[in-house]
């Protein structure tokens, strides 16, 4: 079968090699999924690539990795295919180049947006309000009314949802559209929540060498659950605001604040671990050409979480205004860039896991 990119062509070659070996069958979901087919479309390969968690076990277990002439490198090749798949399915098409230049786009966007917030705070309020908001009863709403925040962030959020949905739909359709049931989603949710396949088949993952000593699963849990806690904090605050009429700012021991603090800590610790693991990682195992996207995503999470925490700690000082601009800038950049960066990996992997759960249920009765 002919393929649209060199990475997909190489992935197809490797799947033929792996399908005639199958020694790695017990390591993760990719190889059992591969065994269901003898030829692979671009969509099939993108599905397999998003199923791969890049634990690295098959690279060290394979008897045919370089320098062997068969040159089998499944995690590295699938990482390339996976990363390119994010761009391939992105909506609108005009935004696809953003993936390869993600780091630059992110830096420019974040600076611009934060600057605009500062300008807006200054232009729409009394001069000097930027540094005196901490004295106002309404705190940050003194600089930007609640309704304005809702309107701006609501619009950005809806755009993000639409763009992410369109991309995910294209990804899903490309490998066929099977009937995925509730049990499959339950299975996929469990697998994603535990990062079941980020453990080298039970031995642990590999990062800098052939020792299974990698901690990425832990760092990812900090990051992911930190993110979820922050999301929960915002959601709870929305309920407080609209249902109970309790308005921000909230005391540090309130529900939204506690969730936000815990989440913020996760979003600071997790990304530090992930970044450090990425730095020491064997180059062979990763994709090339997308470092800005990978690092940018992690850094952005950190800036978002970090600025939120700083806002909480320094909210009673003249820094409130600038920090608010930074935090809102970070969050808005985050929303706007979500469909065009590493964020989609979570969604695509979830979709791949649910498709896999369904395929395994259908072919083997269980997973």
């Amino acid at each position: 079968m002919s393929h649209s990119t060199p990475a997909l062509t190489e992935a197809d070659r490797l799947m033929t090699v792996c399908n005639s070996c199958r020694y790695c069958e017990g390591l993760c979901a990719v190889f059992p999924a591969m065994e269901l087919k003898r030829s692979f479309s671009d969509g099939d390969l993108n599905h397999l690539a998003n199923l791969c968690h890049n634990c690295g076990a098959c690279y060290h277990d394979c008897q045919f990795t370089p320098p062997h002439e068969f040159a089998v490198n499944v995690p590295g090749t699938l990482a390339q295919v996976r990363t390119e798949s994010y761009a391939h399915y992105a909506w609108p098409k005009a935004a696809r180049p953003l993936f390869a230049r993600h780091g630059t786009a992110l830096a420019i966007g974040m600076t611009l947006i934060t600057a605009l917030f500062i300008l807006g705070f200054v232009a729409l309020n009394e001069p000097g309000a930027l540094l005196t908001a901490h004295l106002d009863d309404t705190r940050f709403y003194a600089m930007m009314p609640h309704e304005a925040m809702i309107a701006l962030f609501g619009a950005a959020f809806l755009w993000m949802l639409l763009a992410v949905f369109m991309g995910a739909r294209a990804f899903w359709r490309d490998a066929g559209t099977p009937q995925v049931g509730a049990t499959d989603h339950a299975q996929a949710t469990r697998d994603a929540a535990q990062l079941r396949y980020l453990d080298g088949g039970g031995m642990g993952c590999f990062n800098e060498d052939e020792q299974p000593t990698d901690r990425r699963r832990l760092w990812h849990h900090f990051t992911f659950y930190g993110f979820l806690l922050c999301f929960a904090a915002t959601s709870l605050a929305t309920v407080y605001h609209y249902v109970f009429g309790w308005h921000a700012p909230y005391a540090w021991h309130s529900g939204p604040a506690l969730l936000g603090i815990a989440g913020g800590i996760g979003l600071v610790i997790g990304p530090i671990g992930l970044l450090s693991a990425k730095r020491s990682r064997m180059q062979e195992l990763g994709a090339s050409g997308f470092r800005g996207m990978e690092v940018g995503f992690i850094l952005r999470l950190r800036v978002t979480g970090g600025s939120g925490l700083a806002l909480r700690v320094l909210g009673e000082t003249p820094l409130l205004g600038p920090l608010l601009a930074l935090h809102l800038g970070a969050v808005l950049t985050f929303f706007l860039s979500m469909p065009y960066g590493k964020f989609v990996h979570g969604l695509y992997r979830y979709l791949a896991l649910s498709r896999h759960a369904r395929d395994m249920r259908r072919h083997h009765g269980s997973i």
Partner: protein, 461 residues
């Protein structure tokens, strides 16, 4: 005073089991592996399972496989050509090997897709042989075993029945290493084509070697030259029919072809030469290498038609495809008239009539041919037609050194060596006079490796 308690030659399953056992018993252990690090472990890196006796199903084995049944299987595949007492001892010790090897970090999984027939008898390594090997290396290094790569043990100094020193070639030159005991676990000599020729003649030029190019048997030769008793002859080996397009060395598992039962096999004269329906894979898997070795130019082709294409495990290279038998003959450089006649005669002789079942002998046979196909005979009639070229693929040789039931080498005069042990392929001929049963090479390696390591430690103590 010797520098090392135990010197282990080789770096595969047998060598590492010996090294770990000896180190756990308190010895200082040096492992010399001839290959560079990536290719360490010889054939172990290409293995996938190990055959051990067990009285009950386990989490990964589907049912019991008793020592008696194991012994029956061994007697059958070797046609009784085995040292029965030694084999019985090995099988008895294979019971506890399942636990012991897992204690060394090796992990098992249920049998792989496409290998259901081995799910009861053979324990499959999670991640395959290289994963298994990596686990043994991690354990050995963690215990303090020293490992040197690109170090070949080329000669030994033996006094009477006692090992003194070894000559070692490495990138830094030739050195002599003293040790109180020697464990020879350096594999077969299948990569030494000249040695193979001593048994096979010029035919060996056309053999493909399924493992690394490092297994040349220099230590085997040195030991025999210095007074250790030889076992086996140069023709005995594990040989299967593999894809003729495979690289000369190290093509491993992915070049094997499991499709003989689905069609016919013809030689260079476009004629059939053996009953393709004699028995199911894997029991007869290992005879086709020798059969092809006896054909002109040591090449043959497996022919089948469209409905069979996806009935067997896929392999690395695509089959040759053609719309007619004559066109297929053309592509294979065979005589079209002869190939058409072979296929037509075969088709006309198919009795068939029963449901086709490739899992067990199904009684669908031909009648009236000089060489009948006694099971799974079906007409080759639906285009496109396919062919895989095959050549003998040598896994490992059986000629080696004689050992006793404590894995000690036996000298020419019949005395056991004082401080020399052997394990794995270098002594596999003690168990396998001929034939093969899947996974038994790893059993030989692990059981005799552990015995050798423990024996060496006992000698040192």
């Amino acid at each position: 005073m010797a520098a090392w308690d135990v010197l282990v030659a080789g770096g595969g399953n047998a060598a590492l089991c010996a090294a770990i056992a000896a180190r756990r018993a308190g010895c200082s252990v040096l492992v010399l592996e001839k290959a560079p690090k990536f290719y360490r472990g010889g054939n172990t890196r290409h293995t996938r399972n190990m055959r051990c006796a067990h009285d009950a199903a386990t989490g990964t084995l589907t049912g019991p496989y008793t020592g008696d049944e194991f012994m029956q299987d061994l007697l059958r595949v070797t046609s009784g050509n085995t040292d029965e007492a030694l084999s019985r001892m090995m099988i008895d010790k294979s019971y506890e090997m399942l636990d012991w090897i897992q204690q060394q970090g090796v992990r098992f999984q249920p049998s792989l897709g496409g290998t259901l027939s081995l799910g009861r008898t053979n324990s499959f390594f999670l991640g395959g042989g290289r994963s298994m090997l990596n686990a043994l290396y991690r354990t050995a290094e963690g215990l303090g075993v020293e490992i040197r790569y690109e170090s070949e043990l080329t000669d030994v100094e033996i006094e009477g029945a006692s090992f003194r020193t070894a000559t070692v070639q490495s990138p830094s030159g030739e050195t002599r290493i003293e040790a109180r005991t020697l464990v020879a676990a350096s594999g077969g000599f299948q990569a030494d084509i000249d040695w193979l020729k001593q048994g096979w003649g010029e035919r060996a030029e056309n053999f493909l070697i399924r493992g690394t190019p490092y297994n040349k048997g220099s230590l085997t030769r040195a030991l025999i030259d210095k007074g250790v008793r030889q076992i086996g002859d140069a023709t005995q080996c594990h040989a299967v029919a593999i894809d003729a397009r495979a690289p000369k060395f190290d093509g491993g598992i992915i070049t094997r072809l499991d499709c003989v039962v689905f069609g016919i096999v013809v030689n260079k004269r476009a004629e059939r030469f053996y009953d393709e329906g004699e028995d199911i894979w894997p029991k007869r898997y290992a005879i086709w290498g020798r059969l092809v070795a006896d054909q002109p130019d040591q090449i043959a082709w497996i022919l089948f038609d469209a409905p069979n294409l996806e009935k067997f495990m896929p392999s690395l290279y695509p089959p040759v495809e053609a719309g007619s038998i004559a066109e297929l003959a053309d592509k294979l450089s065979l005589d079209p008239a002869q190939l058409c006649e072979t296929v037509e005669t075969f088709n006309a002789s198919v009795v068939g009539g029963r449901p086709f079942n490739h899992v067990e002998p199904d009684g669908n046979r031909t009648e009236g041919l000089e060489i009948d196909k006694t099971n799974w005979a079906q007409r080759i009639e639906t285009p496109p037609f396919y062919a895989y070229p095959v050549r003998p693929g040598i896994t490992f040789t059986y000629l080696g050194v004689r050992v006793d039931d404590r894995a000690r080498m036996v000298m020419q005069d019949g005395r056991p060596a004082e401080n020399m042990f052997a394990a794995g392929e270098i002594m596999a001929g003690n168990v396998l006079g001929q034939g093969y049963a899947a996974g038994i090479g790893m059993t030989i390696g692990a059981v005799f490796g552990r015995l050798a390591g423990e024996g060496a430690a006992a000698h040192v103590a």
